[in-house]
């Protein structure tokens, strides 16, 4: 939907990130010290317990060596040669420097945390892999939360609107794509209508995708950009006005055109600026959430009853297919993007963090891990949802994919996955990277060892360096489900759907981390959501209502 491409964006962000990567450290340092300081008393106040003690001690040491980088531990040793110019150097250098540092620290600390026992007896390569895995999981938790919050917010907006403003639950006008209005009394017919509607909708989606691909192949950027810009403008101004109108009407508040137009104008332009140019992160996020909820409200309003549910199902199936089948329709698109090595339509993607592209962490000595990671991360981003490790390890030109994916997630009803071609590409890229790193290291040996501060800062750094990203497509369909559930005025159902979706999201991320395999974000969540919606409204609600009304508690 939204999409205004500016090609030079990446360079910009790159330089941005490069110089930006300092200040965060200053912020973080203090806290780190606190943490480290805080650990000993709590830990040491704990005598032996089955697993407690070694961990405790080791965490301590781990912390120590991460703060005061005691050269004895592996992490640091390994960090030294790899510490590519955190300070000076071009954007790449800086970025790489960070990721190096981070990696070093990560390995150090994690090993400290967990692997101590095994570490002794395991050969190097193995615990490389283990570390790898750990690192995958390490930031999972935080990222899951970083997704929980916006998703919940988006749902909140939708649910609040749906249950307060009548307009969005009134039927009557429907989308153009859904010609069958489920008017007939018999369930069968309505169901059939729903099926046909949703298939039509899916068809539209597919056609749009194909059109997009053709346009892109033909290099008619103008048209694409025009199209995307138009749609984004429409979404912004038209839907916003509509939303305002219904809100005002819902509470019978009079309002004059002057005020409205000023507000909408400001709102719209500010959004364009903050998303396509520079704007404060919270604002960006707020806008994205708002847009997503507007979109889902539209779906809730303009899709007939059963069609909506059917569409949810179909879309998530489509998502599944598109991601897992070797010839996903979007694949071609992505490949061409790869070949041309350029960003296409930028984000309609929620980022829990600044849209930096730090350089991939090149680890000269083993392919396997970085490859594995790459896959996992691509997988994540492919699925249009969190790229748990992605931020830290993406090359600048990967940004477009991430965005596009998310953006597909939006327009094309959650994007296809292009795992396989990625697999294809991975080796290439890692190779490239390695080369780069190597000759970079050769070029400026001065960077080999860098000031004291860095490792620690970097450790602090990655916490906010590694942004989480979720395609708005996922936001939208999650919210559609929950919003629709709430539109029947039963909060148990809504709650059940909400939990189910969160769990689905959680599982998606966990599976990503574990299987290291591209997974779409919708299917699990939506399936859970649908299952829980229907089961709750059909089976649970009668039971719980009986309980509640008779004040029986279980």
């Amino acid at each position: 939907m939204d999409g205004h491409v500016n090609i030079d964006r990446d360079e910009k962000t790159l330089s941005v990130e490069e110089s930006g990567s300092r200040s965060g450290k200053k912020r973080r340092r203090s806290q780190n010290q606190d943490v480290s300081a805080s650990q000993p008393p709590t830990q040491s106040s704990r005598p032996e317990g089955e697993s407690a003690r070694p961990d405790a001690l080791d965490t301590e040491s781990a912390y120590n060596n991460s703060q005061t980088r005691d050269p004895a531990t592996q992490g640091v040793v390994r960090r030294h040669p790899r510490g590519g110019g955190g300070g000076g150097g071009g954007g790449d250098a800086g970025a790489r420097g960070e990721s190096e540092g981070r990696d070093g620290h990560v390995s150090a600390s994690t090993r400290g945390n967990v692997q101590d026992a095994r570490r002794m007896m395991q050969p190097q390569s193995e615990w490389e892999e283990l570390e790898e895995e750990e690192e995958e999981l390490k930031y999972g938790a935080q990222h899951v939360i970083k997704l929980f919050i916006p998703v919940s917010l988006c749902m909140l907006v939708v649910v609040a609107t749906v249950s307060s403003v009548r307009f969005y639950t009134q039927k009557g006008i429907y989308l153009l794509y859904t010609p069958f209005h489920e008017t007939s009394p018999s369930f069968g017919d309505r169901f059939f209508d729903a099926v046909r509607n949703s298939l039509i909708l899916l068809g539209v989606v597919v056609v749009l995708t194909v059109l997009l691909i053709i346009l892109y192949k033909k290099r008619c950027y103008k048209i694409i950009h025009g199209w995307l810009l138009m749609s984004s403008l429409l979404l912004l101004f038209f839907f916003t006005i509509m939303y305002m109108q219904e809100l005002l009407r819902g509470y019978n508040i009079g309002m004059d055109w002057i005020t409205v137009s000023i507000c909408v104008w400001n709102f719209g332009v500010m959004r364009m600026v903050s998303i396509h140019w520079h704007g404060p992160l919270p604002l960006q996020q707020a806008y994205l959430i708002f847009i997503a909820s507007l979109m889902s409200l539209m779906f809730i309003k303009y899709l007939p009853e059963y069609t909506l549910w059917m569409v949810l199902a179909v879309i998530s199936l489509w998502d599944l297919v598109a991601v897992l089948c070797p010839k996903g329709p979007l694949r071609i698109l992505v490949e061409t993007a790869q070949e041309r090595n350029e960003p296409i339509f930028p984000a309609l993607i929620y980022s829990s963090n600044f849209m930096y592209s730090t350089l991939g962490m090149a680890n000269p000595d083993d392919d396997s891990r970085s490859q594995g990671r790459e896959m996992a991360q691509e997988g994540t981003s492919n699925s249009g949802s969190a790229a748990s490790g992605a931020e830290g390890t993406q090359r600048p030109r990967d940004n477009p994919q991430r965005r596009r994916n998310a953006e597909n997630g939006h327009v094309v009803a959650d994007d296809a996955g292009f795992t396989d071609d990625w697999r294809g590409q991975l080796d290439k890229r890692t190779r490239q990277r390695r080369e780069q790193v190597n000759n970079f290291a050769q070029q400026n040996p001065s960077n080999v060892d860098y000031p004291q501060a860095h490792p620690r800062d970097l450790t602090a750094e990655e916490d906010d360096e590694r942004g989480v990203k979720l395609g708005l497509g996922d936001f939208i369909f999650y919210s559609v489900l929950v919003g629709k559930a709430s539109s029947y005025g039963d909060w148990n159902t809504t709650l059940a759907c909400f939990i189910a979706i969160l769990i689905g999201l959680c599982l998606t991320l966990i599976m990503l981390a574990i299987f290291k395999k591209a997974l779409p974000a919708l299917p699990i969540s939506i399936t859970f959501g649908l299952i829980f919606y229907f089961s709750t409204s059909l089976l649970v609600v009668p039971f719980t209502e009986k309980l509640a009304s008779q004040q029986v508690y279980i």
Binding site: T42, S45, R46, P47, E48, G49, E50, A52, Q170, K171, G172, Q245, R249, N252, Y488, G489, D490, V541, P542, E545, K546, A548, S549
Partner: protein
């Protein structure tokens, strides 16, 4: 029901409401333990004219108030003087539904709403001695013939001797609170019981919270006057909600013989027999108008039917034609009749000339009108066989018109002698006409006409234009279509017979006693007065019959998007009565264009499928005021009545807790939160000490 957003949205809304109620019903939500729906479809709603607004509205989110049932006058005083729990919602029987009461309620400022409950045993006869009519004392005086500007010398007459002495012009007042009429007995009992149980003061002392309360929701969209709200309705592509719509329905009429465009209609050849189709009340969904309208309608219908039996004779011997017409919206400033006159003046009655239609219906002008016989209220004569004939003093000042009128009167007289059941008595010449459609004609053309009523001076109908003007009022006793017992239908039938006879004479200039069919009359009466799902309607109503409820006809002229099944049914009935069966099957039983002189109607339920050829049709009845561009809303020439739009009207009954209780609960909540925050923070911050983490859990 009347005045929803649009037809489509209206149904949509109904669906919504239904689903809503379904969800209320589904499962046992605590909601159902708190609230009870009370019948809320008979709300007093707002109407507007060029200058004023009338009726009632609630606030946007409804008006709530503590219920207080008024049993005797003293209760009012209690509420106004002692009642501490304001605002109140007063509930009383129509006994107290008087302007004085409502005004006092308004002035007291303690009343947020009124529900008028009609218990089963409520009998207006004995309890409402001094009748009750929402109308003014001089209905439609302003838009009538005798308004101060045109005919000052007769304008004053009604002031002196009001036609409608019971008229408390309540219908034409704007009230600050919603008023609901509640006839559903379960609802009535609900209110009564809830009051007894919770609110009823014990020897003068008010009860304590929680108190039984009502929420009245009937928010009207329009305000100020027709001009304002029509303008607002027209503004902006975004404003989808209708602030108000002009009153709108269709005049239903047919002629004895079809008038083909090709053959010239002679001057003064059309005898118009008219009655008015609509009645009004303060409340939505109820407007029986048993005497105000139905008596006239039925008389006209059965007379028409009777005449039509002699169609051939008449056509053969004379060039006269007879136009039977039911005017819509007469209550609201003669909308129907003034529209017909306007169309005739514009030379577009019934339609503008279309060039490419063959067998096109001819235009009728004012000059074609010969006589004009109008039936107003004919249902309640003092003694059963005496009706009164009113004539217009002004037009009859003109001598040859006077002659014609006298001729007409004589003919009517002879006819009544011939039938010899009902006497027709002429009212004094200098008495102006009572409220009647002919006035719209006389405003523009001098025709000789009479108005037949059951009253000489003031109305015999004590409940003119009120919800009490029902079959009880006119003492129509029949419990089914065929019961021969009651006298009322006989009376109506006699009037019809006299009318028919007179018309026959007028048309053919030969005397012949024509008697209307009493069964038919009775059936018609039964349909309109008691049950709109009667056999006749089932037979003729076609699709429309499905939508009608087993209730008396709702005769309120609604708006364009409103419900008008009764109009269609009436047209079909007229078509059945004024039409000849033709040998056509359903597929070819239809017209090429509505401009044809003949229409075809197919009655699938009438002895398994009948095609009828007739001249009966509908023409739009909307005040010309809305067609004339830049019409001056203030000039009282045409009716400017519009009806406000609204979404749904509903009444809920429930208990209201005391504010003290609520505050206590909130405090409890806050305390619980704060306390727990403190405790949790303490435990959390000192967890290691509190849970002596010195001892690993697994070990203990």
């Amino acid at each position: 029901m009347a005045s929803k957003v649009t037809g489509r949205q209206a149904t949509l809304l109904r669906v919504l409401v239904l689903s809503g109620t379904f969800f209320l019903a589904a499962g046992e939500r605590v909601k159902n333990k708190i609230y009870d729906e009370i019948q809320g479809d008979m709300a007093c709603f707002k109407r507007f004219n060029g200058t004023h607004e009338i009726g009632c509205t609630s606030k946007f989110f409804g008006n709530t108030g503590v219920l207080h049932v008024i049993e005797e006058k003293a209760d009012f005083d209690w509420v106004y003087e002692h009642g501490p729990h304001q605002p109140y919602v007063l509930a009383f029987t129509p006994l107290f539904l008087t302007e004085a009461v409502l005004e006092r309620a308004t002035d007291s400022g303690k009343v947020s709403g009124v529900v008028v409950v009609v218990p089963e045993d409520f009998d207006p006869e004995t309890q409402l001695l001094d009748g009750f009519s929402g109308e003014t004392e001089c209905p439609d005086a302003y838009l009538g013939l005798y308004n101060a500007s045109s005919n000052p010398d007769y304008a004053g007459y009604c002031r002196k001797k009001p036609w409608n002495p019971n008229g408390t012009s309540m219908l034409y007042t704007s009230w600050e609170f919603p008023i609901f009429l509640i006839t559903n007995q379960t609802s009535v009992n609900n209110i009564q019981n809830c009051f007894e149980k919770f609110n009823k003061p014990v020897n003068g002392m008010p009860r304590d919270w929680p108190l039984c309360s009502l929420e009245l929701k009937s928010n009207m969209y329009g305000t100020t006057n027709s001009e304002v709200c029509m303008r607002r309705a027209s503004i902006g592509p975004l404003s989808t909600d209708n602030f108000c719509d002009p009153l709108y329905d269709y005049n239903i009429w047919g002629t004895l013989k079809p008038m083909n465009m090709s053959e010239e209609i002679p001057e003064k050849s059309v005898i118009i027999v008219a009655a008015r189709m609509d009645a009004a009340t303060m409340f939505d969904n109820i407007s029986p108008g048993a005497n105000s309208a139905v008596s006239g309608i039925i008389t006209l219908m059965s007379a028409a039917a009777a005449i039509f039996k002699h169609k051939e004779e008449i056509i053969n011997v004379s060039n006269k034609n007879i136009l039977f017409i039911l005017f819509q919206g007469e209550t609201w400033g003669y909308i129907g009749s003034s529209r017909v006159v306007w169309d005739m003046e514009q030379g577009q009655f019934p339609y503008k000339v279309k060039d490419d239609v063959k067998d096109q219906i001819a235009q009728i002008n004012l000059t074609h009108i010969d006589y004009f016989i109008e039936l107003e209220q004919v249902g309640q004569p003092e003694d059963i066989n005496k009706l009164y004939i009113h004539t217009d003093p002004i037009s009859n000042a003109n001598p040859e018109l006077k002659n014609e009128t006298d001729n007409l009167l004589n003919i009517l007289d002879e006819a009544s002698n011939l039938v010899n059941e009902t006497k027709f008595v002429r009212v004094r010449k200098d008495v102006p006409l009572p409220p009647s459609s002919i006035q719209s004609f006389l405003k523009h053309v001098n025709i000789s006409g009479v108005v037949i009523t059951d009253h000489e001076g003031e109305f015999k109908n004590p409940y003119y234009e009120s919800f009490l003007d029902n079959y009880r009022n006119v003492k129509y006793e029949a419990d089914n279509e065929t019961s021969d017992a009651d006298l009322y239908h006989k009376h109506i039938n006699n009037v019809a017979s006299v009318l028919a006879t007179a018309i026959y004479k007028l048309a053919t200039n030969t005397h012949k006693k024509i008697t209307a069919d009493p069964e038919l009359t009775n059936e018609l009466l039964f349909c309109y007065m008691k049950n709109m799902t009667c056999n006749l309607v089932q037979e003729y109503g076609g699709e429309m019959a499905k939508h009608l409820e087993p209730k008396p006809a709702k005769l309120y002229v609604s708006v364009e998007s409103g419900e008008r099944y009764r109009s269609y049914v009436t047209m079909y009935l007229m078509a059945g009565l004024l039409g000849d069966e033709v040998e056509r099957n359903q597929s070819d039983c239809k017209i090429e264009s509505i401009y044809n002189m003949n229409h075809f109607y197919y009655f699938s339920h009438l002895h398994n499928g009948t095609c009828v050829q007739t001249t009966v049709r509908m023409t739009e009845a909307m005040s010309p005021a809305f067609l004339i561009d830049d019409y001056d809303w203030k000039s009282g020439e045409y009716s400017t009545w519009t009806e406000s739009g609204w979404k749904l009207t509903k009444v809920m009954i429930f208990l209201r807790p005391s504010v003290l209780e609520e505050v206590a609960v909130v405090c409890g909540g806050v305390v619980s939160l704060v306390l727990s925050v403190i405790v949790v923070h303490f435990m959390n911050s000192r967890a290691d000490l509190l849970f002596g983490l010195s001892t690993p859990p697994a070990a203990c």
